[in-house]
């Protein structure tokens, strides 16, 4: 099983090399066997009463992440869909994409996707599942952007990535919470500890996080908006990722986790509500589309909503119907996408307003489309699988239980909403078929003269249609070997349901079907009369606009915020930095009771000190208001010399000497430099600016003083300086403690300070020299 999951990935890595060297053969042929073999591998489990299979490989045991692959009925159904439809899609794409395209890229992305999707449905470890989950989003992003020179492809790719990765991160939050609560990373073990999850304080967060992950991936209202734009991908991709497999990952996730939530009505209510809303809204919107793939996209959304709703019903009826429909939807929708691709390929247009009357040119495609669309519409014929699942859907909507006003209201509303959604489904199915294949042929509108597709291109949709018919004819065979196993796995208990074509006239589900068909026909025939309703609902409102608005705003608002404070003004930066430091440090000092302001312990202040300090302070203030550079630096010198006098008074003559020299040299250097500089601008400073400066500098000074005094008063341990005083001569061999500290005790400090000087000297040399060289040029 591990090999089955990773085989496509391995091929994805070598595909670029194959495609480069084998120009003559279409790359697709070379790699076609991969999904086929995987399909055959999984086929061996069908019908066998296998107990679940688990295979483990250690990966990151420290984080409890291991490659645990788990096969039960549910994963088997998905694995078969992924590999089976994968095979057909690869075959189809060989004719759809010609050899001039960048096939290497296409198949690489496609096979990365195949691996990831198999990984999603087979992983038992939540983090491995998450890894594969993100990779399905990424490969979908790359596939949508396959024709990246088109503006719309880029738009669609970004949109799908943002929305699905948003969901992915949300899922990550959810599974981390699950692992914290249950202490395990295995889904199966989580299921067995479901009471821990339900009773945990994080329960609501877990639920919301997981639902967001599933709803974004499976394009549930209002996150469905990415799917129509994802139709920019090449059609094989739409057929594969965006209808048959990837978009069902969210449904898979919900099905997988539903045993955990089996005791939580809220979970099921939410699924049902979102599912039903999605079903109705998207089927309503599908009728409005003019692009063939647009219709199919909304149709897919609506069908996904339907599956979600059935899962949400949570009854044996619902679960069974959901699983059954996953299979049925994959067959008819896959074939319809492929036919849409054929129409596009052979006529050069997908606009249903320009198409029409293609039956005569493309009889085989048309025949296949009849099966697909009628099955989707749920027309009661014994060889259409769509009818059976629609019946099951109605049946499950009638078998709801629950208490509470809201839930009871929902139970009453569910069958009605189901019927309404199905009516629109019927309408767009008819619209899709008749609009394309019947009606008037408009030669002038089409870029190409239409003709039937090459036979091999028709094979994949034909196989899927064959599936539609076979499931329709022998529903209980498929039920027995596959569906019931899958449903059992979801429900966590045995779900035995028979599938019958005829339930009798008095069957409520059948009556609902009749309502759907009669109203559907009526609405279809009168479509032109009522379709102006779309200008009121949704009218200009749409979630696309919300998305566009957010993405656009994220950039413009970011820009506004950032340029607001990143002005390039050093003064502003310093104001902000100092204000932050003052406020936070001062409040810390006050609130932690760190203030220890007590002057008794300080040395008495002499008159001389006061005089010098006053002079220094005046000097410092004078510097800031001096009108002329030379005056400023000279006044600043006062501060430095004052400091050296203070050093003398505190009996540190060597420091005083150093300070004196440094001060003199800097003043002289400054004076030399100023010779080359223009005069100081005497611009009038605004009062607020000066005020702020004054406030901040005073604040900072006060803060330093307070901390200094408090720190002094809180001195706690003897300083290490006694050691230096004692050992300067004894161990250091010198008489001056400062010198011995500098060159011996802490000689490394000095060494690296010298390195700093070395760097500074080279830096200055570089600046001067580089400038001269520039000048020389």
């Amino acid at each position: 099983m591990v090999f089955a999951v990773f085989a496509p990935l391995i091929f994805a890595i070598i595909i670029p090399f194959i495609s480069r060297f084998k120009r003559k053969i279409h790359t697709g042929w070379l790699i076609l066997p991969v999904p086929l073999l995987i399909f055959i591998y999984f086929l061996q489990f069908v019908g066998r009463d296998f107990s679940t299979i688990m295979q483990s490989t250690n990966w990151i045991p420290s984080l409890d992440i291991s490659l645990d692959f788990y096969l039960d009925g549910l994963s088997l159904l998905f694995a078969l869909l992924i590999s089976g439809i994968g095979t057909l899609v690869v075959l189809y794409s060989i004719y759809y994409l010609n050899k001039e395209e960048q096939l290497g890229h296409f198949y690489t992305y496609l096979y990365i996707f195949m691996s990831s999707m198999l990984g999603v449905v087979l992983s038992d470890n939540v983090f491995v599942l998450y890894t594969f989950w993100e990779f399905t989003s990424l490969s979908s992003f790359l596939l949508i952007g396959y024709w990246h020179y088109r503006e719309k492809s880029r738009y669609g790719a970004l949109k799908s990535m943002l929305i699905t990765v948003f969901g992915g991160f949300s899922l990550l939050g959810g599974i981390i919470l699950l692992t914290i609560v249950t202490g395990t990373t295995s889904i199966q073990e989580m299921v067995s500890k479901s009471d821990l999850i339900i009773n945990s304080e994080y329960f609501l967060f877990i639920l919301v996080f997981l639902l967001l992950g599933a709803f974004t991936k499976s394009a549930q209202f209002p996150f469905h908006i990415w799917l129509p734009d994802a139709m920019e991908a090449p059609t094989p991709v739409s057929a594969y990722l965006h209808s048959a497999t990837m978009v069902k990952a969210g449904i898979y996730l919900m099905a997988r986790f539903s045993p955990i939530f089996s005791e939580v009505p809220l979970f099921f209510v939410l699924l049902s509500i979102f599912g039903l809303v999605t079903l109705t809204w998207a089927s309503y919107m599908a009728v409005r589309q003019t692009d063939l793939k647009g219709i199919l996209a909304f149709s897919t959304i609506s069908q996904l909503g339907m599956i979600m709703a059935m899962l949400g019903f949570g009854t044996t009826y619902g679960v069974f119907a959901a699983v059954f429909h996953i299979l049925n939807h994959a067959t008819f929708k896959g074939s319809l996408f492929m036919i849409a691709g054929i129409v596009d390929h052979e006529t050069g247009s997908r606009d249903i307003r320009k198409l029409g009357g293609l039956m005569t040119f493309m009889p085989i495609s048309a025949t296949l489309a009849v099966f697909g669309t009628f099955s989707m519409a749920g027309v009661p014929l014994p060889f259409l699988n769509g009818f059976y699942s629609k019946e099951k859907f109605f049946e499950s909507s009638l078998h709801l239980e629950g208490s509470g006003t809201f839930v009871e209201g929902l139970i009453t509303a569910a069958p009605i909403i189901a019927v309404v959604g199905s009516i629109f489904t019927f309408v767009y199915s008819m619209y899709l078929f008749f609009g394309t294949f019947r009606g008037e042929y408009q030669e002038s509108e089409l870029p190409k003269k239409p003709h039937e597709a090459p036979i091999m291109m028709l094979v994949p949709p034909a196989i899927l249609v064959l599936g539609v018919i076979l499931i329709g004819l022998f529903p209980n065979f498929f039920n027995h070997v596959l569906i019931s196993h899958s449903a059992d796995a979801v429900y966590g208990d045995s779900v035995t349901k028979k599938i019958k074509f005829w339930h009798g006239w008095d069957s409520r589900a059948f009556q609902m079907s009749l309502v759907v068909i009669s109203l559907g026909v009526l609405l279809y025939l009168t479509k032109s009369k009522w379709d102006s309703i779309y200008s009121f609902l949704p009218g200009p409102l749409s979630f696309n606009r919300v998305y566009d608005w957010i993405v656009e705003k994220v950039e413009s608002v970011s820009n506004r915020i950032t340029t607001f404070y990143m002005t390039g003004s050093l003064r502003l930066y310093m104001v902000l930095i100092l204000t932050t430091i003052i406020i936070i440090t001062a409040s810390t000092l006050v609130f932690t009771g760190g203030m220890n302001f007590d002057v008794n312990d300080l040395a008495p202040i002499t008159t001389a000190e006061i005089i010098i300090a006053t002079i220094m302070a005046l000097g410092a203030i004078g510097t800031t208001i001096a009108k002329n550079r030379i005056a400023a630096i000279l006044i600043l010198g006062v501060v430095g010399y004052g400091l050296s006098i203070l050093f003398v008074m505190y009996s540190a003559p060597d420091l005083a000497l150093t300070q004196l020299i440094v001060e003199t040299v800097t003043v002289v250097l400054f004076l030399l430099c100023f010779y080359h500089l223009p005069n100081l601008e005497s611009g009038t400073k605004s009062f607020t600016k000066t005020g702020t400066n004054l406030l901040i500098s005073t604040g900072y000074g006060l803060l330093m003083m307070l901390i200094g005094i408090s720190a002094y008063n809180s001195r706690f341990a003897e300083t290490i300086s006694t050691y230096f005083m004692e050992n300067t001569y004894k161990l250091g061999g010198g008489h001056n403690a400062v010198n011995v500290i500098l060159v011996d005790f802490r000689g490394i400090d000095t060494l690296f300070e010298i390195a700093v000087l070395f760097g500074a000297a080279l830096g200055i040399y570089t600046m001067i020299k580089l400038r001269q060289d520039k000048g020389a040029k």
């Binding site: 990151i60 045991p61 420290s62 984080l63 983090f127 998450y130 890894t131 993100e134 020179y149 880029r154 970004l158 943002l162 990765v165 990550l172 939050g173 981390i176 692992t179 914290i180 994080y202 994220v554 970011s558 820009n559 950032t562 404070y565 990143m566 050093l570 502003l572 930066y573 310093m574 930095i577 932050t580 440090t585 000092l589 932690t592 009771g593 760190g594 901390i707 200094g708 408090s710 002094y712 809180s714 001195r715 706690f716 341990a717 290490i720 050691y723 005790f745 802490r746 000689g747 490394i748 400090d749 690296f752 700093v756 760097g759 080279l762 830096g763 570089t766 580089l770 400038r771 060289d773």
Partner: protein, 496 residues
């Protein structure tokens, strides 16, 4: 054997001096620098192995016993960061010849480069608060030398702001060291830690305040909200190789220092400093950083702004101060150093390839330079924290740490920032690499190619850190346990 602790500081210092003597012989300088970088990397690799197999290595500088001399402590945390530094240095030294002009190389690029490495390693390895200040000076001076290499008006203007703000923080640093000294009477970090622990509860308030002040010193250097104003422009103006070194190393030294002092010294009031201050600042840092990244069309600036949210993630782990939080934080720190350097390399190559920094003028670069495009895409995934790459491991641990302590807001902010980071990066991919082939792309394919090779090396390291996490993670877990305990550090320095 103890001397191993100081080798990563002394070796590059020597190298820096050696190459300063022969600036004119460029080929020789390059060869020497490249050989030495690899040699140093091997030596540091050996030291790392030594530390992890035989325990912390402590060198008492000049043989003066602690706390009187200067202690160098090659413990698990510092040595692993030194190792990461040398990995990046080795990649950078191969990138430089293709990215810099001959003239820039001649003007002591390699000298400043090795000086920077020496300063960074020193900051990681020193066990002395004042000595840490000295190494900050070293790396500040080296970075200053590197910024002005371009010597344009812009470089000088931005480097001035950079230097002034950093000088201010250095001044504050010295002042704070004086405050610390006046309370506990020592500057040796282990000794400070030991003495702070013994301070009676009613006097701890002032220590917290000084700790906060010291935090701000490092926060300025680490580019934590709201103190990072100096960073974006001063990192954008220099050559990509310099930006890569800065982005990968400089801010990380700041965050490392916070890491060190807030796991070793100031742990007496974590409910305020860690749980409140750090967590809030981490959130703001993530958000404002990524908002900055979304605000511009300058590709280099986008990468630069992305330094800031990463710092937020690391600070978040320090704030959590739990085993998960610290492990995640260290993992994220290593990951970010590597991937930031790689991204700066790639974006440097992109600018060369497209001939512009402006994203709105770029398109279709991938058609001419597919390798570059895919590497950039990969780098984006690594940065965003998509599994199975290195960013994921750290992020997973951080989020797990946050959620298990009930920090929901923090988790949401972290997740939203991740999404926005992805958006800010994928914009470059979609608008710059995808689309119609643009006019004016460079014809110098070989140069672009040469620029991608060091990035390939670094991205391989990132992938290894992700896929091969099991080979690394247990060691990082050792580190977080070691940091939470503190006694091993203190005793190995003071009684060693």
């Amino acid at each position: 054997m103890n001397n191993l602790a100081i080798l990563p500081i002394i070796l590059p210092l020597l190298a820096s001096v050696i190459v300063a003597f022969i600036p004119g012989k460029l080929n020789m300088v390059r060869k020497i620098s490249q050989t030495l970088s690899i040699l140093f990397l091997i030596i540091v690799g050996y030291i790392t192995w030594e530390v992890f197999s035989n325990g912390v290595i402590v060198l008492q500088g000049g043989g003066w016993k602690a706390p009187y001399g200067i202690s160098f402590v090659a413990d698990y945390l510092s040595i692993i960061l030194v190792l990461t530094t040398y990995v990046i240095a080795a990649a950078a030294v191969f990138y430089a010849p293709h990215s810099l002009s001959n003239q820039q190389e001649k003007f002591y690029f390699y000298t400043f480069f090795f000086l920077l490495i020496s300063g960074v390693s020193g900051a990681f390895l020193t066990g002395d608060l004042f000595n840490l200040f000295v190494f900050f000076e070293v790396l500040l001076m080296a970075s200053y030398g590197l910024i002005i290499l371009g010597n344009g008006k812009v470089q000088l203007r931005e480097s001035l702001k950079y230097v002034l703000i950093n000088l201010f923080s250095s001044m504050l640093f010295v002042t704070t060291v004086a405050f610390v000294y006046s309370i506990v009477g020592t500057v040796n970090m282990a000794h400070i830690a030991e003495r702070v622990e013994a301070v009676p509860a009613e006097q701890q308030g002032i220590i917290t305040a000084i700790g906060v002040l010291l935090f701000f010193v490092f926060a300025v250097k680490a580019a934590i909200f709201p103190l990072y104003y100096w960073l974006p422009n001063s990192y954008v103006v220099p050559n990509p190789v310099v930006s890569a070194l800065f982005g990968a190393l400089l801010t990380k030294v700041g965050i490392y220092s916070i890491f060190r002092i807030y796991t070793l010294i100031f742990v007496h009031d974590t409910s305020f400093t860690h749980d409140q201050l750090f967590i809030w600042l981490a959130m703001f840092t993530m958000l404002f950083g990524v908002i900055g990244a979304l605000s511009t069309n300058n590709v280099k600036l986008i990468i630069t702004y992305n330094i800031i949210p990463a710092i937020g993630f690391i600070l978040m782990g320090i704030g959590l101060y739990s085993e998960d939080g610290l492990t995640g934080s260290i993992y994220y720190l290593m990951h970010d150093m590597v991937v930031k350097a790689a991204l700066f390399f790639l974006v440097g190559a992109l600018v060369v390839a497209a001939g512009t920094k402006d994203l709105s003028k770029m398109s279709g670069v991938i058609q001419r330079f597919p390798l570059l495009g895919w590497l950039f895409f990969l780098g984006t995934l690594v940065l965003t924290g998509i599994p199975p790459f290195s960013g994921f491991i750290g992020k997973l641990l951080l989020l797990r740490g946050a959620l298990s302590e009930g920090y929901f807001l923090l988790t949401l902010v972290a997740l939203v920032s991740s999404l926005l980071i992805l958006l800010s990066m994928i914009r470059i991919f979609i608008r710059g690499f995808w689309g119609e082939k643009m006019e004016g792309m460079t014809s110098d394919n070989r140069k672009v190619h040469a620029l991608t090779i060091p990035a390939i090396f670094l991205l391989s390291v990132s992938i290894f850190l992700g896929v091969g996490a099991e080979l690394v993670l247990p060691y990082i877990e050792t580190i977080s346990g070691y940091l939470l305990d503190r006694t091993e550090y203190i005793s190995s320095v003071l009684k060693g």
